[in-house]
Symmetry: C2
Subunit: 580 residues, 2 copies
């Protein structure tokens, strides 16, 4: 492509509303243009990147045996009413009335539509398993669209749905798709982790999220550098301490803590590690006799995990207690609460595994301006009613697979695989006849990739102060020929045109910058746009028969500095770079 026949539109400054580096760089490089809140036009340069990502996704879906189709974006409400999701999906779903006042939505996802297709098309176990996918613009009416295409309202998604005659077949396709996702993100040059995820409200039995690792990510992930283990922090298991509780060494005593209402402050005052303190979080759960108070005990440095807590029996509707409720039971203000001397008829005590293994700890005295030290279970208070894993894992915790210790990092979710089971097929009566001629509900899986979000996450991982550094598989152009004085110098024009024609003939996606711009502008654009390889053709070099090559990012073990290559060897040299 010649720059003069393409549309390149870069700017020095990004609009002030752009916070993320990917959002800034996509606007500055002219990849996208804002139309409205969460709505972006993919400009020619950006669309080339998007299509490259889409192509890799499509190749790997086809390789995994998934079959592409294309469902309407506009979906009738009736299908959503069959699964009950019309009422519960919430304002994220863009609802529409047509000219006849019938209800539709701009599809945020397609479980209902594909299940409708399956129940009409699939009659027999002989047609199973089958795995359909599509690549399509979706719409989700985010309450606060932001970060450019990272959290846009209209976005490109690959969604796949598989149908099975057994859970074993579902598990098999799930693994095939898991492997395909791994290939997709690897081929796109992304550093990512597949993390075990919460199956949440939809039900279903297994689920993994694929996260691109980046400091700007919205999700917190726990992973083990020494193994494959990774999980969303909401789900990562905090392993119970391997060591037994030690026998009490200290006597129980009150300590004055006049202004110290947090474990951090108390530990500082007493000059003890935070890991010797215990905090009490008061909450309410619904029981047979109305709401009852519960006391959650966590080590001072640990964070409550409400997802894990909610999975304990009777805790699905847990909420934090308000100050009035706390005062009514503890007769004390928050900040000095503790588990000693509680009225156990009114309050249940749930201790995290770590707390249950502690002795000689410090906690609130249920008396304003006082804490207790040298506290021990069995001696100073009863053993907890329940001991469970109710905290977030922390950096340095043992990995649940026993292979090392956990680290925390942030991630951007770009993919999700999910064993749905028969939730949708039962609700919509999507059945098949099994070998015995008996009607059975199909097992289902669903598998999503945020195609447009991948573009932004790749930039979060691959950029420097000059701009984007595209992974080779995603780059809008593989190489740019910067022709200095193309319009003025016959020598430059001939050399650049010849090299360009040779590389195009060899099947490479090359940009020839034949614009009438200053060299500095052309270099800055090439760097901002992030084209992996650059050659500069100028009169000065050509007089010696050479042109200059420079990679956007130094190859491993290379300096990355500009190097001269002879014009005669250029095509061979550049073709040899493929794959770097």
């Amino acid at each position: 492509m010649r720059a003069t026949r393409f549309f390149i539109s870069t700017t020095k400054e990004a609009p002030s509303e752009a916070e993320l580096v990917s959002h800034k760089l996509m606007l500055r490089a002219g990849l996208i243009k804002r139309l409205g809140s969460g709505l972006y036009t993919w400009m020619p340069l950006g669309l080339r990147v998007l299509r490259r990502v889409e192509a890799v996704v499509r190749e790997e879906m086809n390789r995994a045996g998934a079959i592409e189709l294309l469902m309407p974006a506009v979906q009738p409400a009736e299908l959503w009413e069959e699964t009950g999701r019309w009422a519960v999906f919430g304002p994220q779903m863009l609802k529409i009335k047509d000219r006849h006042q019938r209800d539709f939505c701009f599809g945020p996802t397609h479980e209902e539509v594909i299940t409708d297709v399956a129940r009409r098309e699939i009659k027999s176990y002989r047609q199973l398993p089958v795995n359909f996918y599509q690549i399509q613009m979706k719409f989700r009416d985010e309450i606060r669209p932001r970060f450019g295409v990272m959290r846009a309202r209209e976005f490109l998604m690959k969604d796949a749905y598989s149908f099975h005659a057994s859970k074993a077949s579902l598990a098999e396709t799930y693994q095939i798709m898991y492997d395909a996702y791994t290939r997709v993100f690897s081929r796109l040059g992304l550093t990512f982790r597949a993390v075990a995820a919460d199956t949440g409200a939809i039900g279903g039995s297994a689920s993994h999220e694929f996260h691109v690792l980046a400091d700007s990510g919205e999700d917190l992930i726990a992973y083990c550098p020494d193994s494959d283990y990774a999980a969303n922090v909401e789900l990562a298991e905090a392993v119970a301490p391997a060591t037994q509780r030690t026998a009490p060494q200290e006597t129980l005593r009150e300590v004055e803590t006049p202004k110290q209402t947090t474990c951090e402050d108390v530990a500082a005052l007493l000059d003890i590690p935070l890991t010797r303190t215990v905090k009490l979080i008061a909450g309410m759960v619904k029981g047979s006799a109305g709401e009852q108070m519960v006391a959650l005990l966590l080590r001072g440095d640990h964070m409550l995990n409400e997802v894990k807590l909610g999975k304990l029996e009777g805790f699905s509707d847990f909420r934090l207690a308000n100050e009035a409720e706390i005062r009514a039971v503890f007769n004390c203000s928050p900040g000095f609460l503790g588990p000693v001397g509680l009225d156990l008829a009114k309050i249940r005590v749930i201790a995290d595994h770590t707390v249950a293994a502690m002795s000689d700890f410090v906690c609130g005295a249920n008396k304003p301006k006082y804490h207790l030290a040298g506290v021990n279970f069995g001696r100073d208070l009863q053993e907890p009613d329940v001991v469970a894993d109710i905290r977030n894992v922390a950096s340095g915790d043992p990995s649940p697979d026993g292979q090392g210790t956990l680290q925390l990092c942030r991630g951007i979710e770009v993919g999700h695989v999910f064993q749905l089971g028969s939730t949708y097929s039962q609700a919509m009566n999507a059945t098949y006849l099994d070998e015995a001629g008996k009607s059975q509900a199909m097992e289902m899986g669903c598998y999503g990739i945020g195609v447009s979000r991948i573009v932004a996450s790749a930039i979060e991982q691959h950029h420097d102060e000059k701009g984007i550094i595209w992974p080779a598989t995603m780059a809008p152009f593989w190489l740019v020929i910067v022709a200095i004085g193309y319009g003025k110098s016959e020598m430059v024009r001939q050399a650049a045109d010849t090299l360009y024609a040779e590389l195009i003939a060899a099947g490479h996606d090359v940009l020839l910058d034949d614009r009438d711009e200053r060299p500095g502008v052309m270099f800055a654009d090439a760097e901002l746009i992030g084209i992996p390889h650059r050659v500069t053709v100028g009169e000065r070099g050509l007089k010696d028969g050479v042109i200059e090559y420079q990679p956007r990012r130094a190859a491993p073990g290379q300096s990355g500095e500009a190097q001269k290559i002879t014009l005669a060897d250029a095509t061979e040299f550049l073709t040899g770079l493929l794959g770097h």
Copy 2:
């Protein structure tokens, strides 16, 4: 692709609501699946065809220098308010409110959005001309969606928009796009015509529609078989008769026509050609003194063309008169109206060119149950107030280009090119600085192709009683290998697999029908689906080292009957068919 790893779902019968042959065959062949009124899922087989059409369109757009981008489907109302189209577009536009009750639409077209992009991106004449295109699902809330994807609500469209610094530049790009469209439809194997079209309410200076010729088409087209001339009947010029009016030969006389209220009936009664009769159509137009009656005179066999009439000065709001209005002026019931003896203070007479050249004609007598014969202008009534072209052309009329006579045919509109001029750029203030530094409104062109509609129109042109006959460029597969007893015969399996592998390796898109079906089912599916070439691999032939080849449609000069080819020569033979 192996049939057992693909999704083929054919049926013997089409649902009764399908009227058009293309709609029936698309449903029977399993190309599409209905989701709701005017909403279709493109099943795997159908999507392959759609993508092939899309690929040809994209290639020709790129070759024409258009640059691909992708705008959001969801558009803010504010932009449409700038051009005034939010109010006037009507219920075809699907209007949406987001969670903040802001107005949006699911874009039926993108003039406003692209003009917004252009006014932000284009500052100087040096950036012009530029031509952007996208291929995207559009939504138009048709009052009566029908004919499958021929008139669906959600449909795939290629829309391009060009911006220019002069009308000459616009005309140049218009011609380039016109030529590109010609290549697109030619490559897709369609019989089509580019017809001059009405520029209608949008304004603009030139417009052509591209029609695929088919009896089921909704549009009537006049074309000259001896030249390139073609126009929508609404627009085709009816050339004024070359010969002068002859002198009166007959005397004016009343003839009794007791039950004859149409020209056809009168001509039959009098045993004269219909071309000797004149009909009067009474209508109303708004004048300075309120509505006034007008009498339109047309030859008995001609049809009024309201588009042409509406372009006459003072006729833009023409409507037909009702019976009360007619009786008030003519004192006679419709069916016996004529131009003789009218009160010319109350009524203006507009004659079509053909009528103005007639003598000795027959018309109504303004007296129930009577007509007049031997009527002549000048002698029996005044010359008409206005003589103009106000009729549809008829088959056999001279072609306006003087190259022969016109024929009529029906067409399906699949493309439209349009010189918009500066209507949108002025309304939205899309300006650039010219060479003198002066701000100017950009000239615009727009160019659409109905990608999904092409699939249906191709079937209208290419089918037989067995099913679809795809043009080669559009076929979902180029060739099908029907392997009889694939699962049972090792000999068949080996031969079919080898041939399949060789053809795939040579880059061909081949379907291997390895299903456990009866030969008749496999043959019928291949014919219904319309795959251009078929080879049959069976044990009987293989014992003699042969397989059978049969084309879906006989090549010109060929019988189209099955022929035996040796297995050894098969790949060479089949590869040699490419392009047929």
